[in-house]
């Protein structure tokens, strides 16, 4: 048997080599490549994973690079859930991007603001005229303690999509009131078609429906004060009655079909695009997808039928916004990019290619858009009276994790018959206060 020995010199050599290897391997970690003289690379992280928004954002980046010599946009696309965890960790460690597309609200971007990781945008907002051109609700969503930190790119409204062609086919009309809806439900059950496709299997879908309920029962102004200024309560008698109507009475009447807690948002969408449902709880962000899935059908979107005879209000919000890192490597280029986001050139791409509704005043008929896009754009921009017609998303503003979790868990429990509307309203109020 031969034995192998390691001399002192070899031992020292191996140790030094190993240490050097480790040190060198760590040198490039988390660092951006230095741009050449006169050139700069803007790092942007976003979650535009779906089409046509993904391709459209590439087009905006390319157009920005073409308009600015020596500027390259280094785009990193990350799934929404992962981006929420990844971006805050990266930014806290100083390795984050120059610009990040992140969710609005106290529990999302608010955390980054509190940690001093985002740069204020008030000066650029004044310069670029955003304070007058961008819808007030959108600015409100990106403002913390009176300081604007973000630039929302989209006006999203959530409502009920309807397939008018399918309704016509069965001699039915779009339901405009609660009574219409219950009548439609009876007929739909006989046809084996789901009246309104809605699933709470995802953690966020109850946010949409409860936002619509809150807009409907509180109207825009009062809901805005509750969501952003904590004036009011979630467990008012009117709110309890509204929860009872929608989540108990309508569910038991079969408005949402069966297995509401087992269906995810995509499952509900599949039911609707497969023409196995007349209506769908969803939002304006899906306009492009729906138009592609049902190209020959007449589609539209409406707010929740009125619960108390009052004005019907869309719940509106910004899905996300662009935020400038306080530690940005290229802050000036990032500011130029933000200004470009709502330039005339970029607006065309947002409207025509991405089929989104930017939160700025524009005439959709000036763009190459189809009829459906124009109808949705009209609704999402407030149909001439945004203060009256556009409400708020209850998961934005001051809503924090306890409130969001209680919406998900509590409305699932109501549908399962494990909780009363009064208990849910009280739990929502308690969770709201816990998160403040």
């Amino acid at each position: 048997m031969t034995s192998t020995h390691l001399s002192r010199r070899s031992f020292l050599g191996a140790t030094v080599a190993g240490g050097l290897g480790l040190a060198l391997s760590g040198c490039g970690f988390g660092r951006q490549e230095q741009a050449a003289e006169g050139e700069s690379t803007l790092s942007v992280w976003d979650s535009f994973t779906t089409e046509p928004v993904n391709t459209s954002f590439n087009a905006i980046n390319d157009a920005f690079s073409a308009a600015n010599d020596g500027v390259t946009v280094d785009r990193n696309i990350v799934q929404y859930d992962q981006l929420t965890a990844l971006a805050k960790t990266a930014m806290a460690s100083g390795d984050g991007p120059d610009l990040v597309y992140y969710s609005v609200g106290k529990g999302n971007a608010g955390i980054l603001v509190d940690a001093g990781l985002l740069a204020p945008l008030d000066d650029i907002a004044e310069e670029a005229g955003w304070t007058s051109s961008i819808a007030p609700f959108a600015l409100r969503e990106a403002t913390f303690d009176g300081v604007l930190y973000g630039l929302p790119n989209e006006s999203e409204v959530s409502g009920w999509w309807y397939n008018k062609s399918l309704l016509d086919q069965h001699g039915l009309a779009v339901p405009e009131s609660a009574d219409d809806l219950l009548a439609l439900t009876e007929t739909a059950k006989g046809l084996g078609i789901v009246p309104v496709a809605y699933g709470q299997g995802d953690f966020y879908t109850s946010f949409w429906l409860f936002s619509q309920v809150a807009c409907n029962i509180m109207q825009s102004d009062a809901l805005g004060r509750l969501v952003y200024e904590n004036e009011g309560a979630w467990n008012s008698p009117e709110m309890v009655a509204a929860i009872q109507t929608v989540f108990v009475d309508w569910h038991q009447a079969g408005v949402f079909g069966e297995n509401v807690n087992a269906l995810k948002a995509q499952d509900a969408t599949d039911l609707w695009t497969g023409e196995q449902a007349f209506l769908l709880v969803n939002g304006s962000w899906a306009t492009g997808t729906h138009a592609e899935a049902l190209p020959d059908r007449e589609l539209g979107m409406m707010p929740l039928p009125s619960l108390d005879g009052e004005h019907r209000v869309y719940s509106a919000g910004s899905g996300g916004a662009f935020w400038l890192s306080a530690n940005a490597q290229e802050p000036e280029v990032a500011r130029d990019f933000l200004e470009y986001v709502f330039s005339d050139d970029a607006l065309t791409i947002w409207v025509e290619q991405a089929q989104l509704v930017p939160p700025v005043q524009f005439d959709s008929s000036d763009y190459d858009t189809n009829e459906l896009q124009q109808r949705i754009a009209t609704a999402a921009s407030g149909d001439g009276d945004p203060e009256q017609n556009l409400g708020y998303q209850v998961n934005h503003g001051l809503a924090a994790a306890p409130f969001l979790n209680m919406m998900t868990e509590g409305f699932q429990a109501i549908i399962a018959g494990d909780k009363t509307p009064q208990q849910q309203a009280d739990d929502l109020q308690a969770a709201w206060e816990e998160g403040l």
Partner: protein, 322 residues
Amino acid sequence: MSRTAAPPAAPPAPRRPAAGAQSRRRAWSPWRWSPAARLAAVFLAPAILLYLVFVLVPLVQSVWLSLHEWDGVNPVKTFVGLANYADLVGDRIFRTSVRNTLIWVGLGTAASLALSLGLALLAWGAGRGFAVFRTLYFMPQVLPTVVVGIVWGWIYHPSFGALNRILDAVGLDGLQRGWLGEPDIAVYAILAASVWASIGLSFVIFSAALNNVSAELLDAAKVDGANAVQRFRHVIVPQLSHAVTLVTSLLLIHNFQAFDMVWVMTRGGPQNSTQLIATYTYQNAFADNQVGYGAALSVVLTVICLIVTVVFVRLRERTSEV
């Protein structure tokens, strides 16, 4: 017994503490090690370094974090002592997650073990034409867990899913349900998918071990009049003991690590009924910005893992001694 004078006490040995300490220091100096020891150190160093960096340091950091309130971003962490652990006591979702984790580890391990051993026994005696089943049984093992979760999500789909359609086709439409939407059954529905995905490797290990079972002993048992169950219990199982230990260990590890299947299929819902400690940890630390509380949950999971491991090893040792 004669009494003799005690010999004069030996002069005290000169105290040489300095020399003793020096020799101890020498023993720790790598320059004094034998060449073989130095060689061993070089080969062991990378593993020790990796273990330190990726296991021990994070573990200590987790314990430290669990004593703080921290949102994961703010540079300021507030020391709260054992408050996070105290909060666990009153946390209903935590209790659900512990119960589900124990179901996952206990029932999941037992079911995977039994199924993979059963399938291996079936394939063991089968002829050449049945070799395809070995491939089929192993195939789920090569699929990423996320893919398995998505596919089983389709199978369980209340409207289009294969399971409800099959039940309808065979006249059991009364059993149709939204499998992932009912709190009482959702965790078992996901566990079934996990078991399906995890039996491949166990099956291969048992198949290999069965090839080493002594045919002479089986023949002798047959001659002695042992029936199939007796031969399995008293001849086959003892010869598979090492394979059983290995498979049980692997399954325990796999089931304690369970996270992705639940996250993909239900994200802990409905009504938090499918939360495992791992998913609840992730939700707190990364979604709800409560990193300290999440760290406390991860410490609890580590402690449960350690307890189960120690119990398993002790039981195994006792069985071996018998």
